[in-house]
Homo-oligomer: 380 residues x 2
């Protein structure tokens, strides 16, 4: 079934999920136990191999994607569909798109298609379709945001490490521990994730829930959630004890949280980023944490990914020796989310393969040579 | 002002907060910075020294409380009021109470008075008053519970440790990561904390929110929160993906979560305990975690406290190498909570010293020789 071209079937697929790869076992008494729910891996291939091969299509899976001799660069020339996860993506640069003469559809198994040069995609083969599984991980990410806020505000990490180290010093743990109640929390963008974050924060009796977005929520929604729009970003940041970033990465948000903007934040505030690593300037965040201007920084997105060993945000701490709640890019890839996005990829493939092209409109990023969503390029 | 008796004023006080002790500084560029908000410490003495001394009273503060030669055991003989934190308490055993001939009032600077032998207290000096600052930390603990649930369900600890170690393996982190959405969560007791936990969980779209309590919530509250009572504890546990313990420690709950009861829990479930360490049998919890029957255990209470270096729940892990979210006893002692309980202790002291005895009824545990709350002894 392994093939480099189209000779064995109508289509060539790539499920490409480097960074989520095996062995996927856990060691227990009975030996190695596989985790078949871990669908987004090179081994489990979203659970779609049999379904595709039964239709006569070819599926090639690889995690070799760096350098000109990579399997990706070689297979790219024939591939009609490329599937990748957003967690450790296969970057579709303008150079690579120029080589992909048969490419019609690029699917992100998850959410976030900034690994594709979308302007170039609109010019490739008359305009390829870039689609993602909108909504498949929004709940997962929103939960991760609320968790990270609580972990930072309540000073969980240094307290847990103290226990692991065999120590016990309540004062040391408590001296940087706060309640979320009574704090001001603001989200940068109130889309599918930002709104879910605010809804989950509503019963915590925060002093205020704020949002910054070019598109306001309806007055009914604002009332239901108990939140308020602030039209100026800097004005919002100056009021917030906690800031959560929930906007996409595009030309206007790249490097948005740099030294200058962070300086506008309230001293001693917490910053959570589960959107994209490049929205912050990592050195500036590390410096602000070190000085204590930021009391904490947490999230699961990095630039670049995977984060190199020496990435400053792995080790940056506040003056109390805590305030770091970073994890690898995982918030959207819980086992529950993997089930949802595997189902969603299958549905997108079926729309294409059946010739119905009945995509869910919200899944389309670029289509027919143009942007299909407001979230990306056209806000430049 | 240091005094062993009553010669310098009408009353002798003890603010006794061993376990929350200094130095309370954080090291930063400017040197050592004290944290004056850390009120529940031997240094900061709830911020009440001046207020007491201005009234002619004597305040003795110590963290020496172990052994017969401890300052506690010596001063106990004269003390009229004893104040202690619940985090590393000064145990008022029957033996110690027998020596405390002047004792009238024992105040817990926080919540949880099981460090006092309440039956003996009812017979001491015609019945001493035991009071605590009800409500002062319920929000803090409820937040800690929600945080701990998310930390366990979303597999935060192994993921963060991977980052600290310079590693990157999304599959390893994700293979034990779930969403809280769609899970069944149950609380053992739905008092001030349990109810607040359920309210905070309401927007997470759990499959069901359950509670077990001898006293049902009103149908209106059940509907508002979206929760359901299960009359039999084992029946509730069998349905729950997540169990949170929010009942007081008394003779019926001591050792409640032993091997037999844990076996009734759903395989692969998570258990959170922020109530009292002795409600679980620590060896049985550690064993259940090791076997994977419990996927995770977390919370901030231990038996005994402080947890000795070799306490099994410091190091117990599930077969994935995670599932431990333990911290020292800190959930109720955030800086925000310390302000609330310091204010509450001052108010209780004022009620006593002024001779008005106008305590808030909900603050009284035993009073006038009898139990003043349903939460403790009389349910035996």
């Amino acid at each position: 079934m392994r093939s480099g071209g189209q000779e064995t079937g109508r289509h060539l697929f790539w499920v490409w999920s480097a960074g989520i790869r095996g062995p996927l076992g856990m060691v227990e008494k009975r030996g190695v136990v596989l985790v078949p729910e871990l669908l987004g891996t090179t081994e489990n291939e979203l659970g779609i191999r049999k379904w595709l091969e039964d239709q006569g299509h070819t599926l090639v899976t690889t995690s070799s994607k760096e350098g000109e001799d990579s399997v990706f660069d070689k297979e790219l020339v024939d591939a009609e569909i490329i599937i990748t996860t957003p967690f450790h993506p296969g970057y579709l640069t303008a150079e690579r798109l120029a080589k992909a003469k048969n490419l019609k559809l690029a699917v992100t198994a998850g959410i976030g298609s900034d690994h594709v040069d979308l302007n170039a995609a609109n010019k490739t083969n008359g305009g390829i379709t870039v689609a993602e599984v909108t909504g498949s991980n929004v709940v997962s990410v929103a939960e991760h945001v609320v968790m990270t806020i609580l972990v930072l505000v309540r000073n969980f990490v240094p307290a847990h490490e103290m226990i692991e180290q065999g120590r016990w010093d309540v004062a040391e743990a408590a001296k940087n521990e706060f309640d979320l109640e009574g704090k001001v929390v603001g989200t940068v963008a109130v889309g599918r994730i930002g709104e879910r974050v605010l809804r989950r924060l509503a019963p915590f009796d925060c002093k205020e829930l704020l949002y910054y977005d070019y598109q306001p929520l309806s007055p009914e929604k604002e009332k239901e959630i108990g939140c308020r729009r602030v039209e100026d970003l800097e004005e919002m940041l100056a009021q917030c004890d906690v800031v959560t970033i929930n906007c996409p990465l595009h030309e206007k948000t790249r490097g948005l949280f740099n030294k200058d903007l962070i300086a506008k934040m309230k001293p001693g505030s917490w910053l959570v980023n589960t959107a994209r690593g490049a929205i912050v300037v990592k050195e500036d965040v590390a410096e602000a944490l070190k000085s204590g201007h930021l009391r904490g920084y947490g999230g699961d997105v990095w630039f670049p990914q995977p984060a190199p060993k020496e990435h400053p945000l792995r080790y940056a701490k506040n003056p109390f020796g805590g305030g770091n709640a970073m994890v690898p890019h995982m918030s959207g890839t819980s086992l529950d989310a993997q089930k949802r996005y595997a189902d969603g990829v299958k549905s997108i493939l079926d729309s294409y393969l059946s010739g119905r092209f009945d995509y869910r409109p919200q899944d389309l990023i670029v289509h027919g040579g143009d942007y299909a969503t407001k979230a990306y390029g056209q806000r430049k």
